[in-house]
């Protein structure tokens, strides 16, 4: 009896030591300074406004940050748990409308309301997840598209929120030079917070459970993971950050209408950014968001047509899926060529 006890403790001991070496190895190859430096540089960027007008640059960073937040958020469900949702812009819309209506009616601040808007989106996510997460694979993807269509139909005809014309929000009172700043910092903060949270989630027991679900749900269930609770919580969490982004984005644009939030292209971007960068990695969605926003801006500036833009997005997505299904970070990591500064996992 004591022999087996001793053996077990020896095994546990060995496992602990092994885990420790793994941790040290991971720490050595991690460049935490890189995201922190990047963040400090971006925080300091508005100082340029003292020397001239850099509003366009600020807008681009803000737009990228919003996509970073949304893609990282989508990654929690789509990347970790493997449930691909093509309807996540519904939560973008819910967050935007919740905060936007309060801003329009009572003059509250959209930025301050963002966490609350996120919570509301998460509640909706939880409720919707209870229904749609009963199925997996293709059926789940289909149900997420139907969700967008339902939301579009409702918001287009709901008189209280202005129907298809939407609602105009009061513009900010700041001068042109500083008008973007509050939104800039808010979005930057949300993006950083989302990335940090997705890192924390990936390295928690919860994240481990999600990854088990994405590998083989039946085995995960058999291993004692409450898959239903895990999935629905992941859905609600990933709705939370998208909802926060929506709240700030709506106030930043100073108007909310269904055609901003509920277009399939935004949902497609979230998916594509994650696939391009690497599904299920931390740095992947960030890189995907930066690349795709840059590509998009370049495309619109040179070609100008949104139809061609849709075509281009489709082509990138098809090429990615066929030739790099693991995305940039995933493919590089598999070849062992991932640069240190991109290893955020």
């Amino acid at each position: 009896m004591s022999d087996t006890m001793q053996e077990t403790s020896a095994v546990l001991e060995a496992r602990k030591a092994y885990n420790e070496t793994l941790r040290i190895k991971a720490d050595q190859s991690r460049a935490t300074w890189f995201p922190i430096t990047l963040m400090i540089l971006l925080m300091a960027l508005p100082l340029l406004q003292f020397t001239g007008n850099y509003n366009y640059m600020l807008h681009m960073v803000l737009l990228t940050a919003s996509y970073v937040a949304m893609a990282s958020s989508w990654n929690i469900l789509g990347g970790f748990a493997g449930y691909i949702s093509l309807g996540h812009n519904v939560f973008f819309c819910i967050g935007g409308y919740f905060a936007g209506m309060l801003v329009a009616r009572y003059g509250w601040s959209g930025i301050a309301l963002a966490p609350l808007a996120g919570l509301v989106a998460a509640l909706f996510g939880y409720a919707i997840g209870l229904i749609t997460l009963r199925v997996r694979g293709p059926s789940f993807i289909i149900s997420s598209i139907a969700l967008v269509m339902i939301a579009r139909l409702l918001f287009d005809h709901w008189k209280f929120v202005g129907g298809a014309n939407g609602v105009t929000l009061p513009p900010t009172e700041l001068s042109v030079q500083w008008a973007k700043l509050p939104y800039y910092y808010a979005m930057l903060f949300i993006a950083a917070f989302t990335v940090w949270c997705s890192y924390k989630i990936k390295h928690s027991k919860f994240g481990l459970g999600l990854r088990a679900i994405s590998k083989d749900e039946i085995k995960a269930e058999a291993a004692g993971i409450d898959t239903r609770f895990y999935k629905v919580t992941a859905f609600a969490l990933s709705a939370f950050f998208v909802g926060m982004t929506g709240a700030v984005w709506g106030e930043y644009l100073t108007y909310i209408r269904p055609s901003i939030f509920l277009v399939i292209l935004i949902a497609a971007y979230m998916v594509l950014m994650c696939i391009l960068g690497g599904k299920g990695t931390i740095a992947g969605p960030v890189i995907g968001a930066i690349l795709l926003t840059a590509f998009n801006e370049f495309f619109v500036a040179t070609m100008g047509a949104s139809e061609l833009n849709i075509l281009g997005t489709g082509v990138i997505m098809a090429v990615c899926l066929m030739f790099f299904p693991h995305g940039i970070v995933g493919t590089l990591a598999r070849k062992g060529k991932l640069p240190k500064i991109l290893n955020w996992d």
């Binding site: 493997g82 691909i84 093509l86 229904i131 749609t132 009963r134 199925v135 694979g137 293709p138 059926s139 993807i141 289909i142 149900s143 598209i145 139907a146 967008v148 269509m149 339902i150 139909l153 287009d156 005809h157 399939i264 497609a268 998916v271 696939i275 047509a305 949104s306 139809e307 061609l308 833009n309 849709i310 075509l311 281009g312 997005t313 489709g314 082509v315 997505m317 098809a318 899926l321 066929m322 299904p325």
Partner: protein, 292 residues
């Protein structure tokens, strides 16, 4: 009473078109396990062929129908060769292909939008705006013809699946891919043929659609959700189930449109999809819950 018959007649007319649209989708899913989100965008492609055939040469969309079907079937073969022949054994094949067809849908939409702009179009042969009257019941000729032609095509498809050798092979592959392969069915060839037939049906549906609905490139997102609701409700891969779902939901949608408001008639399909997912995820005729 007359009003009820009237609405039911309109619903049945639309149901025929939706059944044709959905049956191609169902066929492809049954054989290939591909949820083809690009199907509705290809239907719009077919509608454009019929539209330009009518506009430029005055050819009736019903005569253009076989042309549309053949052109789209060839497109289907090309798409199959380009996108879907690769690693069909991969575990995430069905999820990867959903995203791939999503990308194709965007490519088709973008190409059509760039070529023909996003204006609403509709083919207008004389019968499109004409109608029969039986008593007080008014039957629009366009929908009637489209419904009849759809039902004829679905009948032909059913006979083909039931009596031809390729039909046997397709049904066998749908039931069990490995067993069919063991018994000497060339499953890759069957996949290719069913893809061609499925997309060809999309072309045929497009020709009918061109005078029943007005269309523009981005319209297919609405149809994606409608058609998917039919396929899911019918039990994914069951053509009979899809056809039944198409007729019943279209009739319900017609009543919703008359009594509650026309904007809400499409809502019927989306809500039906959610209700099916909630209470019977394998659909009406589905047999394989593990794949749903």
């Amino acid at each position: 009473m007359d009003q009820i018959i009237q609405v039911a007649v309109l619903g049945i007319g639309l149901g025929g078109v939706f059944a044709l649209m959905g049956s191609g989708l169902s066929l492809v899913f049954g054989v290939m396990r591909i949820v083809n989100l690009a199907h509705p965008s290809l239907i719009i492609g077919g509608a454009y062929i019929a539209y330009w055939g009518f506009k430029l040469y005055g050819i009736d969309p019903l005569i253009m129908l076989p042309v549309c079907a053949v052109i789209l079937a060839v497109t289907g073969i090309l798409f199959y060769k380009a996108f879907f022949e690769r690693d069909a054994k991969s575990a995430t094949y069905s999820e990867m292909t959903v995203l791939l067809t999503f990308a194709i849908a965007m490519i088709v939409e973008g190409a059509l939008g760039a070529a023909f702009s996003n204006t609403q179009r509709v083919t207008s042969p004389v019968y499109a705006t004409d109608a029969f009257f039986i008593g007080d019941v008014f039957i629009p000729k366009g929908q009637l013809y489209a419904g009849i032609v759809s039902i004829m095509i679905i009948g032909l498809l059913a006979a083909f699946l039931k009596y031809s050798r390729l039909g046997y092979a397709i049904r066998a592959t749908t039931q069990n891919r490995e067993a069919a392969a063991l018994l000497g069915v060339n499953v890759n060839m069957v996949g290719l043929m069913s893809f061609a037939i499925g997309i060809g049906l999309a072309g045929a549906a497009g020709a009918l659609t061109s005078f029943v609905f007005s269309f523009f490139p981005a319209k297919h997102w609405e149809w994606v959700a409608i058609l998917m609701s039919l396929v899911v409700m019918g039990g994914m891969g069951s053509i009979l189930g899809t056809v039944i779902a198409a007729f019943s939901l279209s009739i319900v949608a017609a009543f919703v449109g008359t009594w509650i408001g026309s904007t809400w008639s499409t809502m019927t399909f989306f809500l039906a999809l959610f209700l099916v997912l909630l209470f019977r995820p394998q659909g009406l005729f589905g047999e394989k819950p593990e794949l749903v």
